[in-house]
Amino acid sequence: MVDILGGIAKAFELIVSGDPELYGIVSRSLLFSGTAVILAALWGTPLAMLIAFKDFRGKTVIKTFFSTLIGLPTVVLGLILFLIFSRGGPLGFLGLLYTPASIIIGQAILVTPILISIGVSAIESVDPEIMDLAKTLGASESQAQIAVLKEAINGILLSNIASFNRAIAELGVVLLVGGNIAGGGNRTDVLTTAISRYTQRGEIDFAIALGILLMIIIFAINLVVVIARKANYIVALVKSPFSKMKRSVRETER
């Protein structure tokens, strides 16, 4: 039978000894998922702004569409991307299947709905007066939008963290388009796929060590969120001149 306690003890030994194989997998996970979230934030934030600032027909449908996609099963996305990136598929000529780029793009697509959904509601929940006030003070349309975005920074930050959690913990995309390749100069195995491989191979202590590290990463990030939400709320207030002015305007009105 599997010796759970012995496995956990060995797992801690591996973690403490700084096993290069173990930390190689961890760093790949952080690198791929981190890049994916940055990339997704780069396109997710402007799209969220577009949806939040523009009034157009079908806005509710679009918003519902993205909030539904948050629950998209990762293997389904993995399958779709596999078919697209496969050498026989429409983007096969790029040769991206089983490369880190396919993982990064896959995870970026996976988390985009989270960034858009949370981003839109964060922007929409900002007091509309801020925009008017900025414009009154001579800001262009573009500057006024940035001012609103700064106000929504808490929600945007939250969406980024939630995205990273989802990206680093998912298995479907990395397994199907990454291939879980463990050897050579082009490794695509990350925490989740490596846990699955080592469990299948019966190397349970290694799998447990990876599991513990994955949990630590997710826990640490959530801790950062809690702290950042408290701290950043104040930072955001200090940084944005418009909210200050708005407050002083209100006070004088009174």
């Binding site: 402007p46 990064i104 291939g179 050897g183 299948q200």
Partner: protein, 336 residues
């Protein structure tokens, strides 16, 4: 221009940089890549790790091993996502060659499947032939008091792998219709690799068909405790072959332009070289007390040991050859 438009342009540029960076890296800076689609039984034993390290030490090629069941491995190759397939299912290999996807097949190794099961062997199959054993397992399954589907006494790979097709052929050889056997309440289908399936069988204390390599590794590690009840017999023979993916399939030229045929053939020649054959035969001897795989190249040339060589010929040769001439593409020296 509005803020979101500017930001969107930045995002588009960043995406292009990531994709272009990858393309440039893999085309100009990294070593040539050889994609090998393989069966889990070769991978889970760790043999391929050793072969990869040995091969990469002497060749300027990066082996990218994707371990899946034989069914998916073949599918990958058909999509053009593999350059080499390493599998163990002669019937599937035959149609792969016939359809024009594979060329230059070589039989590289063999071992035996085994039937494992609970130590107390409630169905009483120890020492029987495979047909008798399957009869007993069916009888035992039908005699179970609990027919709710909670108690399952047979765990199948259920993933169209080589081991799974072997299981199907054993059932039909014993006179059962596989489709109806798979519907039985006592029959469980894991749908996963060999290692995962062994774990399931171990948890359920069930019977299971396994390849001896993966089984021995798991058993001696203490990961599973089920003993092997039926060993070496002709119908349990397991033969591993390697094939290169055909770079010139008329049906779809575009896919196969990217196939790395030269490195694939170099890898096949490496696998059948006496040194690598020795490495395969010796693999795991120290740890497990016996070979997990036996190199098949020299035995086929020498025609010994018998009866195993004639079993291999019966089971894994097509038209009296490991690769009939119409499925070869150059490299005549492979078949002399």
């Amino acid at each position: 221009m509005q803020a979101w438009q500017k930001l969107l342009i930045v995002a588009a540029l960043a995406t292009i940089i990531v994709v272009a960076g990858t393309l440039v890296y893999f085309n100009y800076f990294s070593k040539r890549r050889l994609f090998i689609s393989t069966t889990t039984s070769l991978y889970d034993t760790g043999l391929l790790d050793e072969i990869e390290a040995d091969y990469e030490a002497t060749h300027n090629v990066d082996l990218n091993i994707v371990a899946v069941g034989t069914g998916i491995a073949i599918q990958h190759a058909k999509n053009g996502d593999a350059d080499v397939v390493l599998v163990h299912s002669p019937s599937v290999e035959k149609s792969f060659l016939e359809d024009g996807y594979g060329v230059n097949r070589k039989i590289i190794a063999y071992n035996f499947f085994t039937i494992i099961g609970p130590e107390d062997d409630p169905a009483g199959i120890t020492g029987k032939t495979i047909t008798e054993a399957l009869d007993d397992i069916v009888a035992y399954g039908e005699s179970l008091a609990d027919q709710s589907g909670q108690t399952q006494i047979w765990v199948s790979r259920g993933d169209n792998s080589g081991t799974h097709s072997k299981e199907k052929s054993l059932w039909s050889k014993a006179g059962y219709d596989y489709e109806s056997i798979a519907e039985e309440r006592w029959y469980a289908s894991a749908g996963q690799g060999m290692g995962a399936t062994l774990n399931v069988a171990n948890q359920k204390e069930a019977y299971c068909l396994a390849d001896i390599g993966t089984y021995l590794k798991f058993y001696s590690d203490g990961t599973i405790s089920l003993p092997a009840l039926i060993l070496e017999e002709q119908s349990l023979l397991n033969v591993y072959s390697v094939m290169a993916v055909n770079p010139t399939v008329p049906a779809n030229q575009t896919i196969h332009e990217q196939i790395n045929f030269n490195d694939a053939m170099d890898f096949i020649q490496y696998l059948i070289s006496p040194e690598t054959q020795q490495l395969i035969t010796n693999y795991g001897k120290d740890t497990y007390g016996q070979s997990l795989f036996t190199g098949a190249v020299q035995p086929l040339i020498d025609d010994t040991p018998q009866p195993i060589v004639s079993w291999i010929q019966d089971y894994a040769f097509f038209d009296g050859s490991e690769c009939p001439p119409q499925y070869r593409n150059g490299y005549a020296e492979l078949y002399t």
